[in-house]
């Protein structure tokens, strides 16, 4: 098992720049998520770590060894493909044992190893079946079996649950996480599903347009997004943005939004111009006493909570409130925000402004 370090890695395909100078470190034994929308460079980054693409520049260290320009076969890692890529001309047993034969392992050891792995994954009874007729879940297990059978330095997974039905996905993601905890192996997992990333990951890297937007543990990223992109990409519904022009002095603890004034975490830098106030839906509350007014446009019932959409003079705001609160469309009401959870963004650069609350998260990312 190993630490993986990416330093200033860049990848160009012809004139197209897929990954721009990414750097981050994946600690030994971590379940690490590469998260981003399609085309953001997350899969390319993973493939560079695996050796399926060679970086245009930069270094990749696996277990302290620089492997950036080495082929995949020399990196001692395992890869689970989205489409599983089981060898169609071999049965389950041969598929799982295939990586062992390349190492020249003795036949008896291979048989023992394969049955061990099959035991772990619960696929002993299908070992002699061809892979063609297997269900999605079984194929997934066989693909995992092929990955874990050789005790690699790291597992790389490219949206391994993407090809499964929604129902089965839930089950498989729990199985995967349990398997990871059992093996304690460094795992790098690519997904575009923010829920999956937060559910399963020890750490998350959020990428967009080939750039690492933020890097950290799920809750830090959710609570203190470094950019407007991260704030919007993570969370459902996403963070609300209230756009306004104003000035925030160094050390300011309130901002003026129209006639209302809101308390915010103490700001560390003074800025003026186009700004954005970011509020998570669960941190917005209906409060008739508040000076900040909005008109209810819609309410979506979600069981224990409801999402109420309000129109304010700075844009629409979605609030997640208990479902027993009665709201009517067209009603005008006051709006309150949890002071200690707010993030201010520079609207032009999209970057979060540093405050007492988020400086720790932003500094280390």
């Amino acid at each position: 098992m190993a630490q993986i370090r990416i330093e200033n890695v860049r990848k160009d395909f012809g004139s197209f720049n897929a990954v721009k100078s990414s750097s981050f470190t994946i600690e030994d034994g971590e379940f690490f998520m590469l998260l981003g929308p399609s085309g953001c460079g997350k899969t390319t980054t993973l493939r560079m770590m695996a050796g399926l693409e060679l970086p245009t520049s930069g270094e990749i260290y696996i277990d302290g060894q620089e492997v950036g320009q080495k082929p995949a076969s020399q990196r001692d890692i395992a890869f689970v493909f989205q489409m599983f890529a089981l060898y169609p001309h071999m049965n389950v047993r041969k598929n799982i044992s295939y990586p062992l034969y390349s190492q020249g392992m003795a036949k008896a050891d291979v048989t023992r190893k394969v049955s061990e792995v099959a035991e772990i994954l619960g696929i002993t009874e299908i070992l002699d079946r061809p892979v063609g007729g297997l269900s999605g879940g079984d194929r997934q297990r066989v693909a995992l079996g092929r990955a874990i059978v050789r005790d690699p330095k790291a597992f790389f997974m490219d949206e391994p649950l993407g090809a499964l039905d929604a129902e089965f996905r839930e089950h498989m993601s729990a199985e995967l996480r349990a398997l990871h905890d059992r093996m304690g192996a460094t795992t790098v997992y690519v997904t575009h599903d923010q829920l999956e990333a937060m559910q399963m990951g020890d750490k998350i890297v959020v990428m967009n347009h080939g750039v690492v937007e933020q890097f950290g543990i799920p809750q830090q990223i959710y609570d203190w997004p470094a950019t407007k992109f991260v704030a919007e990409f993570i969370g459902s519904p996403p963070m609300n943005f209230l756009e306004f022009n104003g000035t925030v002095g160094k050390g300011a603890e309130t901002i003026e939004l129209g006639d209302a004034s809101f308390a915010i975490p103490r700001q560390l830098d003074g800025v003026s111009g186009a700004l954005t106030l970011g509020v998570r839906p669960e941190h917005a509350h209906l409060n008739d006493a508040s000076a900040y007014r909005g008109e209810v446009v819609a309410a979506e019932y979600l069981g224990t909570t409801q999402i109420v959409t309000l129109r304010t003079e700075h844009g629409r705001v979605k609030a997640r409130i208990p479902s027993h609160v009665k709201v009517r469309e067209g009603e005008r009401t006051g709006l309150d925000f949890d002071a200690r959870t707010l993030t201010l963004f520079d609207a032009t650069s999209g970057r979060a402004l540093r405050s007492d609350a988020n400086q720790e998260v932003l500094n280390h990312g």
Partner: protein, 312 residues
């Protein structure tokens, strides 16, 4: 255009079936006629009106494989009574067998050259097709077009330059020369066909093999080739059929040493009158290898082994 999703009626099925059977009979008649002629006597073979029911004889086959001379009384006396069935057949026609004909040798040449060029064509073709399919080859599209363009005229149009080239290289009337020639003609077809088949194989299989610790070349022959088996089999059949049946270059470039069966078969006719049964027998035997090859590879043609292993 719309397609009906309902099952065709019984009458439609019968009609379609009869149509197919009728077409098959029409196309098979010349073949059956050749096979039948091989077992006719010379007289039956040129009888008019043609005979359909006849007494079969192996005379054509005996004549195909032997050289014979017209027997004088003296020779018959010297030879003594016939000891084998084929000598008996020759004697009945007033001839004695003077030795084996060259058909066996010519047939063997056809086998060497036909299968040799097919094998070479498959080796070069799969590797070239794989490279075109998977790697960034400079000027890829132009190269592929150039390769195809070699088939835009009948190959025989370049017979004279090839003849001169072969003469200078000492390849005239050699097995190697004919293998190279047929390979050159077939290669464009095989590269194009095989590239199509290899394009269909998801690249993840090779990547999985690379990750599993195999080299690029091992991934190619352990993972890609087995899955391209269908494509390789059908391409090989096309290549073999061309090389096997090729006549014009064989006439031009081969004579004593490397002559193949197609230019030899017509020469059988001239030895002693119009020996159609021997010609038909030669043609019948000549059909067998291609038929066997096709039947052997048929299961590869029909089997879609990649089905279901990758979800798309």
């Amino acid at each position: 255009m719309s397609f009906s999703a309902t099952e065709p009626s019984i009458r439609t099925k019968w009609f379609a079936g009869l149509l197919v059977i009728g077409y098959a009979i029409v196309t098979l008649i010349p073949l059956l006629w050749i096979i039948a002629t091989g077992f006719k006597s010379p007289a039956d073979s040129i009888a008019y009106p043609p005979v359909v029911v006849f007494e079969p004889t192996l005379e054509g086959y005996v004549n195909l494989f032997t050289d014979r001379t017209r027997a004088t009384e003296q020779m018959l006396d010297d030879a003594g009574p016939p000891t084998t069935w084929y000598e008996q057949i020759a004697r009945d026609r007033g001839t004695v067998i003077s030795g084996p004909s060259r058909y066996g040798e010519r047939f063997l040449n056809s086998v060497i050259i036909g299968f040799g060029s097919t094998a070479l064509c498959m080796i070069l073709g799969t590797m070239a097709a794989y490279a075109f399919s998977r790697f960034k080859v400079p000027l890829k599209d132009d190269l592929l077009f150039f390769i195809l363009s070699t088939r835009m005229m009948p190959p025989i149009a370049v017979a004279i330059p090839i003849f001169l080239m072969f003469r200078n290289l000492g390849l005239n009337d050699t097995h190697l020369g004919m293998i190279l020639l047929y390979t050159a003609v077939n290669l464009s077809l095989s590269v194009w066909l095989l590239k199509g088949f290899i394009d269909e194989i998801p690249v993840e299989y090779e990547e999985a093999a690379l990750i599993d610790g195999y080299t690029r070349f091992q991934a190619f022959y352990k993972v890609v080739l087995p899955q391209a088996a269908t494509g390789i089999a059908s391409t090989a059949i096309f290549c073999l059929i061309f090389a096997w049946n090729e006549y014009a270059f064989a006439v031009l470039l081969t004579s004593g040493n490397a002559q193949t069966a197609p230019p030899f078969i017509p020469t059988i006719i001239g030895v002693s009158g119009k020996d159609w049964p021997a010609v038909a027998a030669g043609a019948t035997i000549f059909l067998v290898p291609v038929m066997v090859f096709t039947i052997l590879l048929r299961k590869h043609l029909l089997r879609g082994i990649t089905f279901g292993a990758v979800r798309k």
